[in-house]
């Protein structure tokens, strides 16, 4: 079994937020071929190992014809991995695009109301939700609306994977989390108009996701918390 932190026999050492970049180019067009065994980061695209991702994928894989909601931007290699290898139906919602639009229009304070109109027909329809780090970009009122939406969206024993940053940042970027394999993610940054980052403490997370079980929770050296939630029966 691959152990956390080991990557092709080397300790990756999570010295930056998402891991120390290693030097190895990927294939020509910048995409990752699903099913390959990529090993390292390229410049500015650190790879980090994720135990919760492995658990999440394994549990989604165990559910036949699972439906997965991805709140992040569409990533071709993730679609290939999740569709072809994990075998689930994928719903791409890209909340970051909505956040960006509101940031550019100066209406982020209304984002909670906007979220209230999102996912209109999704109650109890999802086996799994990939939130990535979207909650780091949401003010408390919007975070509460989204958490409630996700809780409603999940079927019993449905899963939610989310990352929570340890500190606020003025870096103007979002992150595409590209699935390299079942336990590694490549972090690819892209520019944003939204620099405001919100840090949720453990008590905030417990309060926001009351009603969901914390199936596993890991605190990375970088301070990022990876939390795998599960909706009880």
């Amino acid at each position: 079994m691959l152990s956390i932190g080991q990557h092709n026999g080397k300790l990756t050492g999570l010295v930056t937020r998402f891991g120390r970049p290693l030097a190895r180019p990927e294939n020509g067009n910048g995409s990752v071929v699903a099913g390959s065994r990529p090993a390292a980061a390229i410049d500015g695209e650190p790879v980090h190992s994720s135990k919760t991702l492995a658990q999440f994928l394994s549990m989604v894989f165990a559910r036949p014809a699972a439906e997965l909601v991805d709140l992040g931007p569409v990533i071709g290699s993730n679609v290939a991995f999740l569709g072809e290898r994990v075998g689930c139906k994928i719903h791409v919602e890209d909340l970051y695009r909505d956040i960006e639009r509101h940031a550019r229009e100066g209406t982020l304070d209304q984002f909670g109301e906007f979220l209230g109109t999102r996912f209109p027909a999704r109650a109890r329809s999802a086996d799994a939700v990939l939130c990535w780090d979207v909650f780091d970009y949401l003010a408390p009122p919007a975070a509460a609306v989204l958490a409630d939406k996700v809780k409603r969206m999940l079927r019993p024993h449905g899963l939610m994977l989310a990352f929570f940053g340890a500190r606020a940042s003025d870096d103007a970027h979002y992150t595409r989390f590209c699935i390299e394999d079942e336990s590694h993610l490549r972090a690819r940054h892209y520019p944003s108009a939204c620099t405001r980052r919100w840090v949720l403490q453990n008590r905030d997370i417990n309060f926001l996701f009351a009603g969901l079980e914390i199936f596993d929770s890991l605190l990375l050296k970088s301070g990022v918390r990876e939390i795998l939630f599960r909706k009880p029966l």
Partner: protein, 141 residues
Amino acid sequence: MNEELASIGKSIVINGELSGSEDLTIEGRVDGKIELRDHVLTVGPNGRIKAQVSAKAVVILGQVTGNLIATEKVDIKENGSVEGDIVAPRVAIADGSHFRGSIDMQKKDQPSSVERPHFKEKPESKASVPAASVTNDYARV
């Protein structure tokens, strides 16, 4: 031999049902329904489609609003845009493209005995998760 390719030019607007038995490239605008059962539909960079599409393969460089069903592949190229649901055994989405909707790559006729990949990590029961454990890279909390 040069085979002539069917195409719908930039200035053409079609409202209604479009079907055929040859590959087709659309650079104009089509609203309605498109059916090319065993052939390839290419939506060019200037193409604007609001339609339900059914084809062997669909290549998108322009804009599509509507559901796509392909028996082989849907390929959304850079700057291509799709808002709708896709059903196809293979889907390629390039960086720089836009997609919103769902993707179903399940093969409806796939036998249940088809070998599926084996994931290294198996779910751990809650009881097996220690209250707190620390490795070099993470702490379970």
